[in-house]
Subunit: 228 residues, 2 copies
């Protein structure tokens, strides 16, 4: 029995090692371009042994993606204390850290395509979006979101994705600027929605009320005030 | 020769009719759920005759999608005269008309998935985004966009897509509100970027300068000003 348990542990360890190696390779290049041979070689094992643990590249890709998805979803977690603007900025920094680390793989995945656009990968992407959405609701102290708030949060998450994807193309704008800009964008999208809806206006007032004068939200409001 | 030409016209007409029938069906339900039998029946021809014109459902789907893509790209065209805010609002109305007409098919396509996420469909989606981007540059009177402007326009286009997709889920917010909100969002994203960059600030000033006091941009600036 002990030996059996130990053997299963060994299998799991090897699987985890392979997933790590694969994630590293799938992150650095488009997954289409990564071969099982390369993964085997990077892991220091034979190609048949890789197949012993994973039936094929797609299953290894999905396992690697699952790990990356859990990692990314975790980056939206943040103690729900202190000013919201500063919290969101820390989240955006961790988000861009992730995007930076997994650049080519992130692009290939999010742009879809024959090799990476399976329903399993789509479900993983949705699980990350859902986790990010749930974290945002918690940060805002809201348990059930009215339709307009849901729309603002979810469309902002999609804005963060597309901003990161465009940034990855040539990194022509400093990422620190985009991190703070996305925090500002969240405030701006909320403000636009608040202009049309009383509940959103109430939420916005709550959001900016506790912000320090030197926080990202106050800074934006000050700057926008000078544009009129 | 005349007969030959006429015969080719007949083939082309039949193809166009089939594309129209297919687009209608693919728009109203997820493309996965539409069968060749159904398309044949809606077109009033036999199943083998459909295969005479198109090798399979995928090629018919791609042809239908191409027509829809051209239609959608055309909706961003708008005479480059008059205030920008009003122009963008007309564009957003036509965009939501399209989304409304093609709801389920649009959702299935944009969310990707096994049947619809081919590289040909991705290329068509990109062609529409590119056309929308080019129209936006033209509206702004810019020939070559600096990195930050490119980022604002492209991320706003993605925001319009995600807003429309979320709207389609339950239509819980009146579409007219989202149309004007997306125009405001464009101004807000530009304003956020302008807070970080002088070129963007210059562009923003040019954008709002010619806006009438009762236009969508002026309205937003007024409302944002009251937030401070």
């Amino acid at each position: 029995m002990t030996i059996g348990v130990r053997r299963r542990m060994g299998v799991e360890e090897r699987r985890q090692q392979l997933i790590g190696v694969a994630l590293d390779l799938f992150s650095r290049r488009s997954p289409d371009e990564v071969s099982i041979d390369e993964i085997a070689s990077a892991a220091g094992i034979s190609r048949p042994l890789v197949y012993h643990y994973f039936p094929g590249k797609l299953s290894l890709y999905e396992a690697a993606l699952k790990r990356a998805a859990e990692d990314l979803a975790g980056r939206f977690a943040e103690p729900q204390e202190g000013p919201l603007g500063a919290r969101l900025l820390r989240v955006m920094r961790r988000f861009f850290d992730f995007v930076d680390e997994h650049g080519p793989g992130f692009s290939a995945l999010m742009r879809g395509g024959p090799a990476v656009g399976s329903s399993a990968t789509n479900a993983l992407i949705d699980s990350v979006r859902h986790a990010a959405y749930a974290h945002m609701l918690a940060h805002l102290g809201v348990t059930e979101a009215p339709a307009r708030l849901e729309l603002v949060i979810r469309s902002w998450i999609s804005l963060a994705e597309s901003t990161a994807l465009i940034w990855l193309e040539g990194r022509r704008v400093p990422r620190a600027e985009l991190e703070i800009q996305l925090v500002h964008d969240f405030a701006a999208l909320t403000a636009v929605s608040a202009a049309h809806d009383e509940d959103m206006a109430t939420l916005l007032k709550k959001m900016v009320k506790d912000e320090p004068a030197d926080g990202p939200f106050a800074e934006l409001v000050g700057r926008l005030g000078t544009l009129g």
